[in-house]
């Protein structure tokens, strides 16, 4: 088959950090209406952020060391559970400090960039700096980010997104400057400098939260559909089933690598230790970080009529948010919101998730809430060493299908090597060389 280009390609694991703020107070829910959009800025402390950003980026680099296939970041605004308004800033740091892992930016909310050619440029920069390791995510964006923080009109958001996507893909593909006369963007000279290494373009992932139009959009362009859920794999099955039905209806092959899913994971020596170590931090995430004012979650016009008719409810709708805020550890584990426990427990449940949802890509949410660094590393190491190897060869019939994965340069620059070599540059006077 045409995609058997890289035998040995197996289920891919991307270590993801949402970058939550770790110091939301105990009474956050009682005293504030939302963790998102109008979260009080007094709760943000730049000095703490100096530590937190660096700690989180260290963790992402550590994940590469341990053999994770990708490291991931995403875009949120005015948000207490995601302090990454610009994921490209994080990705740029990771591109320099890593050399093997895919840099998964899931992604840039196209409709928010004015003009969206900026996304084509910055993603191309990331692909060049990293030597072709960029996974390019193009979310429509949540109502909180897109409409309430960045002021896009709900009923026009998707239309603007489609136009931005067209502009970016043309900007990457065209060899000559061209004029783009869009409804939202008029550019007389589109001439993307630089272009990405990966041709015709880096692998494109479309994160979705429940809009059924997104399924067709992915299939129209053969993009990966990424369901970014906090509801866990049991709840996610309904939506993924809908996606796979649509894949079949569109007569596409059912490669599991067409789909990605985000799952909260925590590994310890035993199930009891997992609860003892991680419960408070994951509950912090569900009880405080997902405390979103219902009035921000679904402005009229954001969801299309067909999505409303399909009855596929977004994970961030108000009723789901209220469920999140009252969950106990037992609820979280039993309900599949969290896969936690001993390596054996986690292997079993991951296998169930990967097979029932038909996944080729897993975004592993392994730093959660206010989890301290050592626990995050402990969980991550156990997963990499004891769990991940048992989950690789789940899809032998699609072995080698790398259509939705990076194709980096073989002889790409590795920043640690070039920096060391530069210090020993033979033309430098001896006293100037290190």
């Amino acid at each position: 088959m045409a995609f058997r280009t890289n035998v040995g390609v197996a289920v891919k694991f991307t270590w993801f950090n949402l970058m939550p703020w770790p110091d939301l107070p105990d009474d956050f829910r009682e005293k504030n209406r939302s963790v998102w959009v109008d979260i009080p800025s007094q709760l943000f402390d730049p000095v703490t952020a100096n530590r937190v950003y660096n700690e989180y980026m260290d963790q992402l680099e550590y994940a590469e060391e341990l053999g994770f296939d990708g490291i991931g970041c995403n875009e949120h605004h005015q948000n207490g559970y995601g302090i990454m308004p610009s994921p490209n800033v994080i990705a740029a740091g990771l591109a320099r400090r890593t050399s093997k892992a895919a840099i998964c930016v899931i992604g840039n909310s196209i409709a928010l960039y004015n003009p969206p050619i900026r996304v084509a440029e910055e993603f191309a920069m990331l692909d060049c700096i990293s030597g072709g390791r960029l996974v390019a995510g193009f979310p429509v964006g949540t109502p909180m980010d897109t409409n309430f923080c960045y002021g896009q009109i709900p009923a026009l958001t998707r239309d603007k997104y489609y136009e931005g996507h067209e502009l970016i893909m043309r900007a990457w593909a065209e060899d000559e400057p061209f004029a783009f006369d869009g409804k939202y963007n008029q550019l007389r000279y589109v001439n993307c400098w630089p272009k990405p290494i990966q041709q015709p373009h880096p692998p494109v992932y479309i994160p979705g939260g429940g809009s059924i139009e997104t399924w067709d959009f992915c299939l129209d362009h053969d993009y990966n559909y990424s369901y970014l859920s906090f509801g866990g794999y049991l709840a996610g099955k309904k939506l993924l089933d809908g996606y796979w039905d649509q894949v079949a209806a569109r007569d596409k092959d059912d490669s599991p690598y067409r789909a990605a899913f985000a799952q909260i994971i925590a590994v310890a020596d035993s199930d009891a230790e997992a609860e003892a170590l991680y419960a408070e931090h994951i509950l912090y995430f569900f009880n405080r970080c997902l405390h979103v004012y219902p009035g921000f979650s679904d402005p009229p016009g954001y969801r299309t009529i067909s999505t409303i008719k399909a009855g596929v409810l977004d994970q961030l709708r108000a009723e789901n948010m209220r469920v999140f805020s009252n969950l106990t550890w037992k609820d979280l584990v039993d309900g599949g919101y969290v896969i936690a426990g001993s390596p054996d427990t986690v292997i079993d449940r991951m296998k169930e998730m990967i097979t029932t949802l038909r996944l080729g890509h897993v975004f592993c949410l392994m730093h959660n809430g206010n989890q301290p660094d050592w626990k995050t590393r402990y969980s991550t190491k156990l997963f990499a060493e004891k769990v991940m190897p048992q989950l690789r060869n789940m899809w032998p019939e699609y072995d080698g299908d790398d259509r939705w994965w990076i194709h980096p340069l073989e002889d790409r620059v590795r920043a640690d090597e070039t920096m060391a070599a530069a210090r020993r540059h033979p033309q430098l006077p001896t006293e100037a060389a290190e």
Binding site: F148, I153, P154, A155, G295, P299, P300, G301, I308
Partner: protein
């Protein structure tokens, strides 16, 4: 093009009601097709030989009954109340992207009704409420000689940094009566009258679709801030103008009435007592009397 059809219920409210009342049956419901090809529903009432007036509804849509418009018709006026795209059964809202589209569509509907200078007749008088007043002002600013008198009831369209308008897009359904009405109980009844059975998934879905279309369409001129720079064009309005304002408009408090009076210095201003933003529904008799006096003078 104009086609008659049986009496029908207008669209709902932020609470999604379809509030039929006996007064609704006072209207003939017609469909006109504009030159652009948008089918538009129009409620018509009043003596066929009465002076025509066009009334443009606000972001809630017609709530049902339209007692104020009926009272106006009883004063001898021929009332035409177009339903904005997104608020009717047609899907014309896909052609409406911005304020210019709204304003031109308003003019197109009037032309399709056979009214106004494009039909060789006298300029037609305009009434607008809330979002409808914002659009009415834009229509007149664009074409001052195309319209006669202008009556604006609690118009949206200006923004004062010192008095930020409550964001209607973050309001939960139960919050609308308190925001829009002087008498919350009356508002609750008007917005929820007819009622949505929130235990019925199909009813909820119908509500969600209707609400999404109505406020989604309105969002093209109201979101995220209901200001499409109308203030730059208000100087063009020299037509006789009446400003009506509820004395307890919590959405658009008094500084907004003052700002409109400043921008339209020639306008007559009247306050409707015991009324909020939805004055035409809360005090229909007072509003109709003020409008009739102004329009027939």
């Amino acid at each position: 093009m104009m086609t008659g059809s049986p009496n029908g219920s207008p669209n709902g409210s932020p609470n999604g009601s379809t509030n039929g009342s006996t007064a609704t049956s006072s209207f003939e419901r017609i469909i006109v097709t504009t030159r652009r090809g948008i089918d538009s529903e129009v409620l018509v009432t009043g003596p066929s030989d009465g002076t025509p007036v066009v009334s443009l509804h606000g972001f809630t849509g017609h709530l049902g009954g339209e007692v104020m418009l009926v009272a106006l018709a009883e004063q001898g006026l021929r009332v035409h109340a177009p339903v904005w795209p997104g608020y009717s059964d047609s899907v014309g809202e896909t052609a409406i992207d911005d304020m210019l589209d709204f304003a031109l569509h308003g003019g197109d509907v009037i032309a399709a009704l056979g009214l106004g200078p494009s039909n060789g007749l006298a300029p037609v008088d305009l009434i607008g409420h809330s979002m409808g007043a914002m659009i009415a002002a834009e229509m007149v600013a664009l074409a001052p000689y195309g319209y006669g008198k202008l009556a604006l009831i609690s118009p949206l369209g200006l923004w004062l940094n010192d008095h930020p308008i409550t964001d209607i897009y973050t309001q939960l359904p139960f919050e609308f009566p308190g925001l829009l009405f002087h008498d919350v109980a009356v508002g609750t009844e008007l917005l929820a009258g007819g009622g949505v059975d929130f235990n019925d998934p199909q009813a909820i879905q119908r509500f969600l679709i209707g609400n999404s279309r109505r406020l989604g369409t309105a969002g093209k001129i109201l979101f995220p801030i209901p200001n499409r720079r109308l203030s730059k064009r208000l100087y063009r309005i020299t037509n006789p103008t009446l400003l009506l304002w509820g004395d307890d408009d919590r959405l658009l408090p008094r500084p907004y009435a003052d700002a409109w009076s400043t921008a339209l210095a020639h306008a007559e201003r009247q306050t409707i007592e015991a009324a909020g933003h939805m004055a035409p529904y809360e005090q229909p008799a007072s509003v109709a009397a003020a409008l009739a006096t102004f329009l027939t003078a």
